[in-house]
Amino acid sequence: MRTLFTLYCRPVEDTQPGLSTTHGPEGLRVALHGRWTADALSVPQVWARVQQALPPVSEARAGQTPVAWDVSAVQRLDHTGAQVLWDAWGRHWPTTLHAEPVQKAVLERVARFSVPMPQAERPNLHTVFLALGRRVSRVGYHAAGAVRLVGQLLLDMVQLLRHPLHGPWRDVSSHLYRIGATALPITALVGFLIGVVLAYLMSKQLRQFGADSFIVNILGLALIRELGPVLAAILVAGRSGSAITAQIGVMRVTEELDAMRVMGIPKGFRLVMPRTLAMAVAMPLVTVWTTLAAMLGGMLAADLAMGLTPAYFFTALPKTVNIANLWLAVGKSCVFGVLIALIACYYGLRVKPDTQSLGEGTTASVVSSITMVILVDALFAVIFKSVGV
């Protein structure tokens, strides 16, 4: 209660910035009082009052009426307050000014440093044209970067095959754990739910034609061949692709990449290759795991919705779905894994040392790896259209 009391009963009038004008025999006299500080002036009511009071005084100055300014009663004059005054004076010293030496020093500093603003570069037709060209050539730049990264990866793989004992195996195993093992719960949940939803939707349609038993064909083919690999790849791209980009990007921001280079540690061999290897191994495993979870969900839903027993499901599945589909899925997801890792590393290494670039890089990494996964999946569908169906 007491604090409230003191808060409201503080003599506010004394500290607020203000000015009083008196007409004397030798012209107008403006006396300033209160605290002319950034803090006090940026209170909206105060600023409105100061702004209202100041222009008439400036006009009097313009009308050649002599104005005497008295600043000496001001409790505290900081650079913002001085700037307000300097602007009010039309950026000239008034003819008569009463100020303490300390206040004068602040005013003099503001006067000395009040210079016209240097113009920021405005875009004109020429710069717009150049920007367009830069954007076009960036496509080629990205392509060259991608080729360089893949080439470096191949060279690193050759080196690894020559001296397998000197490989960064500890890094590979830690990435395997982070990319693969920690992704198991989320991929299982998403896969299971997709399986349930798909089985329910299909059961309604199939029952109309009395083709209940075809649910095994549909679930088996769709989940094993397409949905399992793509679903797992999208989840891993969102989870681990973004993590890889952010991790390498922060290493750029904190100059860790430069430190590695100075110590002669190749970043391709120690950063890109372990992640790519781990992704190439983990991705097929995660895919099989996601597919299994989805099949389980589909099987349960089929049992509940159509009374199709799991026993029938297990006997019918090998007959209706060719085993080639599984190999295709595993091979496909291995390619997805390599692509996600390479794209994530590429964007991570391109991050510039500021926060905005880090955010943009991570977004670009996830968006391009998911797009790439879907494009490559379509390519696989076209190439292997006669295999396993």
Binding site: T37, A38, L41, H79, T80, V84, A105, S114, K352, T355
Partner: protein, 264 residues
Amino acid sequence: MNLPEPMVRIDKLWSVFKTAGVPTVIHQDLDLDVAQGELLSIVGGSGGGKTVLLRQMLGLETPARGTVTVQGRPAAELGRAGASSRVGMLFQHGALFSAFTVLENIAFPLRERGTLPARLVRDVAMVKLQMVGLDAKHAHKMPADLSGGMVKRVALARALAMDPPLLLLDEPTAGLDPDSADAFCALLQSLHHELDLTVVMVTHDLDTIFELSTRVAVVADKHVVVNATPQAVVDFDHPFVHDFFRGGRGRRAQALLHPPVHPA
């Protein structure tokens, strides 16, 4: 009349950090008062908790025990709206917002208030920019394009944006060339004089300590072992003080003490 309230009052402060579950005590029953208008240098060994002490004053760390009061209010309340007009902080590595230009960085605290017209805010920021010795042409650069010394100056300009009565500096002259360090000291001294600024700085730079500070606080053995005028601290008998001030560099820098330079 009661005595004027100290700018910063630290009372029986304990700072404790947990590393892997094991508590490490940084400060133990540490007392420190900073009076209005003082230029206090905090010195101490590496890892002795100088920066942690600054962070406690800013309310960035929570005291395990004891209290930290800044301008009569608990330090934990500092991080609220309007903090920039109560205290300015120069971080060791600048901590500039990398997505903003130099001018936007400096104008940020004032612009956030949303009252003053953009033109005025920009002019104030330009004055601050040149006040710290930077050329007007750097106004539109991004922090990533600046050198280390320039980053430091922009950070100082931002800390001063609202002309706060209390200024905390973490290693202000580290990474500046001797010329800039001198200019920095001169600027700080004139601001201290004109705006009645209270300054607390953590520094290893003996020249800065002897040229600027009105008081020196030595943090060692988890306490402030001595808090006195530079000359009194040099004469104080403590192993750390002995090594710090009476090593070869210390003796050379002390030449600045004779004759005394500041009109305190």
